[in-house]
């Protein structure tokens, strides 16, 4: 195909009066947008390659660069907007499945932004987190029906294994291979310092990170990459990945070029081979097969570790979740349709799955109706953006949340949506050593610690405002929520009243 219809998405504007030809942008742009013209001693830019990742903008010492949406406009109409047209250009050019990264960008309602929180006035005092203890610790895992004590008050019941989170936030699954070694190390070290957990994702665990085992949740996915006895026993908990919010119902594909020495050793696959996670677990074709996998994992780890099951938020998530609890899972992880991904077919990411808020509310309510909510923990994932999202998720019924996109943004991601190219300029979703080096774990893990500590202070402030001093009193406390711009049905599913009621 000679003629490429696609025009550049972004325009690079260089303020000549500020540019000092220092060529920092030339070195730093992995997409080779910037180039130095020796002859005229001028730096110029090729708009077509720009993905607007802001690497050059951030590092330019004189702030001479501005990246703008390319002014060229289609003669749009509301049906055939620019995006729709361009997607056809691309597909008619390549003939391939459209791939995209990060979460679902479509303008579906974001229910977090339509739920408001309560605060106590007069009838009960708010609690000041600076003076009073404010507890955000949560215990994730299976809980017995009740506790039995003998006559002189000694506890008889033996507690199943639970993991303790100092803050009800964990780092979501991002496989070793889709994100870089330094990104994984930053997540691991931050999890350790914060007293929370990070998820290895379906790419196995690098042996050098075994030392962070007590803050690691090891994932077992359909590809079984890097899964062996020692791996399972290293983590503090195991998570079976059935589905992912961004691509419910399909597997994953890590291109061969990303599988270097390090990744191939961790995933136990040959160097350069494509790592394909098949869509279903080929040993889980129905719920009872899941029970077998859960108990075989428990067997191999001596029943000393909680086993989570992660599903994508789909239509009958409530029924699935209740089945999973009855199948012996210690915690259910639900990943909403806005959950991030390194690479997923655009059509699936934009159209499959349901919002996490509705899925969460439905699952929590269903488990309560069946009286089994207290048996297990419920963790939600998929575009938790800030601490108020966390509080609203917990109030709707979650025990804790996973954050993925928020974590990588803290590590420097600028949402340029081109992780699938593997040339992440911030050293996150890349395996090129010179790019991976750009993410210095010694500095970057501190950013994650700062982010989560800040969120924790905010959560404590929000709790204090509601007159609560322990996070478990917020869990499922839907009276603390009110809805705005929501219809009756949405309020009913969320189980919350409209503001003013």
């Amino acid at each position: 195909m000679s003629l490429n219809f696609n025009t550049p998405d972004f325009e690079v504007i260089r303020e000549e009066s500020r540019c000092i030809q220092c060529k920092v942008c030339v070195h730093q742009c992995a997409n080779t947008v910037h180039s130095y013209d020796e002859e005229d001693n001028v730096v110029c830019a090729d708009d077509t390659k720009c993905v607007n990742c802001h690497r050059c903008v951030t590092l330019c010492p004189t702030k001479a660069l501005i990246i703008r949406r390319h002014p060229l406009e289609f003669r749009e109409n509301s049906n055939w907007c620019g995006k729709a047209i361009k997607e056809i250009y691309k597909q008619s050019q390549t003939g391939g499945v459209l791939l995209s990264s990060m979460g679902n960008p479509e303008p579906f309602t974001i229910y977090w932004d339509r739920i408001l929180l309560n605060a106590s006035q007069v009838t009960n005092p708010s609690i000041d987190p600076l003076r009073e203890p404010m507890e955000t610790k949560v215990m994730i895992g299976r809980k017995p029906e009740k506790l039995e004590f003998d006559s002189d008050g000694k506890l008889l019941t033996k507690m199943p294994p639970n993991i303790e989170l100092k803050i009800p936030v964990m780092f979501s699954a991002m496989s070793y291979g889709s994100i870089s070694r330094n990104a994984h190390e930053s997540l691991a070290r931050a999890a350790e310092e914060l007293g929370i957990f990070y998820n290895t994702g379906e790419g196995g665990l690098n042996r050098e990170f075994y030392k962070y085992g007590k803050n690691t949740i090891v994932q077992v996915a359909s590809g079984r990459f890097g899964v062996h006895k020692e791996y399972l026993n290293t983590g503090a908990a195991i998570e079976i990945k059935i589905g992912q919010g961004a691509k419910p119902g399909i597997g994953g594909h890590l291109p061969g070029k990303k599988v270097g020495e390090d990744v191939s050793a961790t995933r136990m696959i040959p160097v350069g081979s494509d790592a394909i996670s098949p869509a279903p677990h080929h040993d889980i074709y129905s719920i009872e097969d899941l029970r077998q996998l859960i108990f075989s994992l428990k067997e191999v780890t001596g029943y000393k570790k909680p086993v989570f099951v992660k599903i994508a938020a789909v239509h009958n998530s409530a029924a699935i979740a209740s089945g999973i609890v009855r199948a012996g899972a210690d915690a259910i992880v639900v990943d909403g349709f806005r959950g991030g991904t390194g690479a997923a077919p655009t059509r699936i990411r934009n159209n499959v799955g349901i919002p996490i808020e509705l899925a969460l509310a439905a699952i929590d309510q269903r488990l309560r109706e069946e009286g089994i909510r207290n048996y297990c923990s419920l963790i939600v994932a998929g575009s938790i953006r800030n601490s108020s999202d966390v509080v609203k998720a917990i109030a709707l019924g979650a025990d804790a949340v996973y954050i993925g996109s928020a974590a990588v943004i803290a590590l420097g991601c600028h949402m340029c949506h081109s992780c699938s190219t593997g040339k992440c300029n911030w050293g996150i979703a890349t395996q090129y050593p010179e790019l991976v080096k750009r993410l210095n774990p010694d500095v970057m893990y501190k950013r994650l610690v700062n982010l989560i500590s800040a969120w924790n202070h905010e959560i404590q402030e929000l709790l204090g405002g509601m007159g609560i001093n322990a996070i478990e009193s917020l869990r499922g406390n839907r009276l603390m929520l009110r809805g705005v711009d929501l219809n009756e049905k949405e309020l009913e599913i969320l189980g919350i009243k409209y503001a003013g009621e």
Binding site: I20, K23, V24, H27, L59, T62, K437
Partner: protein, 153 residues
């Protein structure tokens, strides 16, 4: 005394340290003016390492030796060591003979474009943390005491 140590595994070779070094030692202290009008030589140099499989870099500047050869080689007494051990160059007395350049084993002293003086790292003594360290995007250079450095060698 604290010195600047470079860590090759972290250096991106972006060159920002050189830019901010020039600016810190310029008259105008403004990045654009420094580079467009003044001609200041950076006291730090980013070098590319050719041997390793992937392209990697490191930044190097004066090591402020305990027993500096450059002071001994200096014919005008322009090179001196101030009371907290920082090896410095007095622009007034320097005649640009480059005897110091001839003996510095690190090649960390450079002739200024004005030809009359030389530029070398003075650890930005009067502004606390050196500007190159403040502006390194990847913490590839650190301001460490000798013991801290030995630990991270």
């Amino acid at each position: 005394m604290r010195k600047i140590y470079a860590f090759e595994s972290k250096c991106l070779g972006c060159g920002l340290c050189e830019i901010y070094c020039r600016t810190a030692h310029s008259r105008s202290k403004d990045i654009v003016k420094t580079h467009k009008r003044e001609s200041i030589t950076s006291a730090i140099v980013v070098e590319e390492i050719l041997s390793s499989s992937t392209i990697s870099y490191f930044a190097l500047q004066c090591r402020h030796c305990e027993n500096p050869k450059c002071i001994k080689a200096c014919i005008s007494g322009a090179m001196y060591k101030d009371d907290n051990g920082v090896v410095r160059n007095n622009k007034e007395k320097c005649v640009g003979c480059l005897s110091c350049v001839l003996v510095c084993p690190f090649g960390a002293i450079k002739k200024n474009d004005d030809g009359k003086t030389v530029s070398k790292c003075d650890l930005c003594v009067d502004s606390g943390e050196p500007f190159c360290i403040k502006n390194c995007p990847n913490a590839a250079i650190k301001f460490l005491s000798e013991d801290e450095a030995r630990v991270l060698k």
